[in-house]
Symmetry: D2
Subunit: 359 residues, 4 copies
């Protein structure tokens, strides 16, 4: 091609960008791993850019000084000073329980869509929230209007709700594998066992002896057995299909990223392997991120992506489904961007379609 | 102390050793990880020494050239030449299925106790063996006389049977946690789920893409779901207590050693946490290797040892037990030595009581 | 924006693509880790697409069945049948020494640019090639015309040579840190020590006991000390600046990706820290991929990227430079794409500018 | 053997122990990794037992609650209350710089041998100590009497000095490989480069972002380049042989234990490979812990042991020696016990001769 022609195209693209503009994104809670992952992903998103960020302990620092892999020169504003940005088109929150109510409410009132990676809008009633998180819900109205943002299951509300409550990392891995079978009423109530194995970034960037390299590096450990806050989230999603109680044990595995979820169900009736695979295929037909695989999945195969790998094995009335996701992409930032893409009528995979980093 | 006195003692110890002698041990299958672990452990055993070894692919080599951590200068004899040693007091086998029958039978007929780390004498009937391993059992008489050597559960037969069939690594981790509750008839038949996570040495020293560092190093993967040969071994041990079917999924985790087993059971009746802990304590009172812990166990905490860590959590009728073992010690060589110690009326912990290598 | 407007833009983009077309790329040697990385990177490249691939042992298979992270449905043609593609605009080679001559020569004669990730065109003379690789060079004319493709140092020849010989992974990490100081004639001849630490993907996808997880997973090991084939490559690049001999020891470290190179030099005269940093800054001013950092670099910080991190410390006449790269991107596929971008007058960072996957 | 005979022997052994007694050991600084390692090793030592321990932050806790791998029920006394034990035969210190002076002095005055794993008595003069650690030395008399306890090089003073200053982990790995060649005056002054790779336990049990699993788990990083406090320690040991300056860069590698040291020297004259190997063999003939290997060493091969692996490669005037040790055994506790064994006229390897834990 002639340089002239190339220059012409560049000019054209430039003009189009001027016309169309980019979605201006703000991130509240940008200094943890989930925030860092949003920044990483948005850096490659052709139709959105991060223009405002806030953090607490690192307020005043640039992103480039907080994350060694990012060159971003944006400066973190202080969360406790309640930054309310009027120059953003969408806001992502990645905060611990109870810290986002006030700001979310203001954005909601202004009509700015909120994508919350934290737990505040996931549970359906203030009562359940109080029970699980031990405090009053600070925005019951918002809670009512929020949608639980598991994209393949959220339906049209995903594009209209003022608040998208992005599922936790473990519920995402579990529900994507459980829901197809519950939806078709194949599973015995209360029979579900979820054995989750998470990379250690799932425990966050805060320091603890449990995540000190020599204490976990060549071993692995369960934690919060039968008592993890993600259980009510799973149960409420299965409830419409008579799911009953979910037995859940999470484990820390000596890898940085990824969640492997081994899901055990008891079937109402014994069904052949092919029928079980067909359930999955039917359910996720046309879903660009979901892939049923015929050999055992490994989170390495989706590292850095928004993909969900699904593997099915059955014998008699026992059904085992294994899912593999990246906890920071599909389990946090990527899933939020997937929801944002749908909300803004963009292609669902825009900016989150790069293949996995393997090996 | 005076040098004279020290010398006197040395002399005395020397004389005693001459009188008492050491148990002369042979190992058939000494070049794999289980064999190497036997050699490592016997090197510190005060009352036994390895005097004969055999391997197949490495025949003719010294142990020191096969294992970089051992200085042993013993030479591997060739298994396929069926070495029958007349100068040993005990023989350990660590061979794949179907390869040990002929030699085991000869040792059995000579009254030399056999400790088999392989699978050939674990299943109780030739019919079951055929079904699981796809070949005829070559020593049905031996099978009848063999004892399943889970030391804490084998009873007196451990000291009299000509053949001790040491349990597989996954069954060891699972059964130590399941049996106490089945023995007291607390568990609903067929409700057992065993989610096993093994270090990669469990897959052996043979090469495969699945154990090539870049393919597993920063991820993890299930394998042989619902179809692992260790399932019948677990089921036959639970059968006397009405165990029913066991649902088992093993996983490879990116660590070299260790097995973490997460065991899910449904209780017949809801019982409080303390009652469940009491079941374990009653069952293993006086067992030197078993330790119930009150914070989540990690295989790192037993690395290199014959110990079993047990952790119990219950909620409603759900019971979760987690066990941590070293797959090569408690799951192979160490358990065999524990059985040998009992067989030769030595203290059960002799030579296998060193604390874990942590971190 | 209105859906009409969006549709219009899509239409426009589509038309532009039709006009401009994409660079059609072929890959010979696509089933190893370097080939897989090219496929991963090209999947996100807006102006190039892989249309032909060849492999040897996996010939006939689709890429999706060879690599668990890629969905690509292209089928591998057989290398030994010497596929000569007439429908490609550029060809990448990723083959072991001695296997690319015949095909490269044909592409060269046809005027199709070749980007060779293998070692065949890196050394400047047939004599040196014979000495290092123990065989005759099969394309001396090509060798003469080839350019050593370290992009920041290759100059204009990068855009005109028919063959770009992409540097080996270790030489890339070393030379990027050494050359700035040699160019300014600051370093004593023969004083260079290169201590390289590579992730295990650097050893390739072929199996060996050295890369079996339990043998390397929790340890590390040097190999080919003072005798690695990358040494002559380093020495010939330093020769114009009076570099002299390079002392090089590579190590395998228990991580999948990345190379950390610790480079030791003796300065002719003692110079302050700031002066040394200025040397780097002068040298790489305007280079989009090179970043001098002020805290110690880690290959994790560039995982999946074409970036080079540089860190400088000096004391007296001792100078230490540490560089961190991703061995499969900057050390193989990514650097090749950087060269291709320049060759085709595209922005140098096109398709290889996504931030690192951290953590 | 008859039970009667066995009982008789047990009786005899028991009597002997009563007569001979065990060495009663105290440990000041028992809650860090070095202290934990002493406790692990002494648990298998037949002639010594730990009877007193002290720690600071964990004072009042039992060892079993501080370390998940130890069952010890001893309680930690508070270091800041300056516990001076009159019922011990030997005291080990494992404290940071500047915290041991007062107590060490008192033990020294009482004639109780001190084995200090900390840095306070390693440098030969108070002036050098001040320069390196930035504070006054609190026990100059002790410093004068102390011996630098690299056992193979300390000579007879090891058995007579009141204080054994056990070398740091990096100096141990480096000096064991450097000294043989310096002693024979083969090396050019100032040419030494030490590139050290340490397992992360070397950074201690205290938390930091640098040792948080996701920040280091799949990467590696240098630290304190040219500025580590272990440099003066190395230089003072080489000084008698005209060693000159040592260039040292330590790195954290993603493994829990072990140090691999790659040592680069320039020879005064070129000498063949065999001659270099002979230097090592001559030097360490009869040393039970040192082993020259003919294939590249890996710290995994000595994990948990007091061994030193040595590997030698030379080309022209370049000499590379690689050593592998366990940083917590040979680099801390084990080396201290080796010194104690010699001090108390016990066999040098007593209690520290178990083979490595591999894999």
């Amino acid at each position: 091609m002639s340089p002239l022609f190339l220059a012409l195209i560049e000019r054209l693209i430039c003009e189009m960008h001027k016309m169309t503009g980019k979605i201006r994104v703000g991130i509240v809670g940008a200094s943890g791993y989930a925030g860092g992952e949003l920044l990483r992903l948005f850096a490659s998103h052709p139709r959105a850019e991060v223009v405002r960020i806030a953090g607490e302990s690192k307020a005043g620092a640039t992103i480039g000084s907080v994350f060694p892999h990012l060159r971003h020169s944006l400066t973190l504003e202080k969360i406790s000073e309640k930054p309310f940005w009027t120059d953003v088109d969408a806001v992502f929150f990645a905060l611990p329980a109870g810290q986002s109510f006030e700001l979310v409410r203001r954005y909601r009132e202004q009509g700015v869509p909120v994508f919350d990676l934290g737990p505040d809008y996931r549970l359906k009633t203030p009562g359940l929230y109080r029970q699980v998180y031990g405090m009053e819900h600070g925005d019951p109205l918002g809670l009512e209007e929020a949608v639980y943002g598991l994209p393949e299951w959220a339906g049209d509300r995903l594009t209209s709700s003022p608040i998208v409550a992005c599922p936790g990392c473990f519920p995402t891995g579990a529900l994507m594998g459980l829901l197809p079978f519950f939806r078709e009423e194949l599973v015995v109530e209360g029979s579900t066992v979820v054995d989750g194995k998470s990379g250690i970034s799932g425990a966050g960037r805060g320091l603890s002896l449990e995540t000190h390299f020599p204490e976990i590096g060549e071993g692995m450990a369960p934690y919060k057995l039968l008592d993890h806050r993600h259980v009510p989230e799973m149960e409420q999603c299965l409830a419409p299909f008579g799911g009953g109680e979910v037995t859940f044990v999470p484990h820390l595995a000596p890898m940085s990223r990824g969640i492997l979820s081994t899901l055990y169900m008891t079937l109402r009736d014994s069904l052949p392997q092919e029928a079980m695979e067909a359930v999955v295929d039917r359910c996720y037909e046309g879903s660009p991120f979901v892939r049923r695989v015929s050999s055992p999945p490994n989170p390495l195969h989706v590292r850095g992506t928004n993909d969900v790998l699904l593997y099915v094995r059955t014998r008699g009335r026992r059904l085992v489904v294994v899912t593999a996701i990246d906890n920071l992409v599909r389990g946090a930032g990527g899933q939020g961007i997937q929801a944002m893409n749908r909300r803004f009528s963009l292609p669902e995979t825009l900016g989150i379609s790069a293949p996995a980093l393997f090996p």
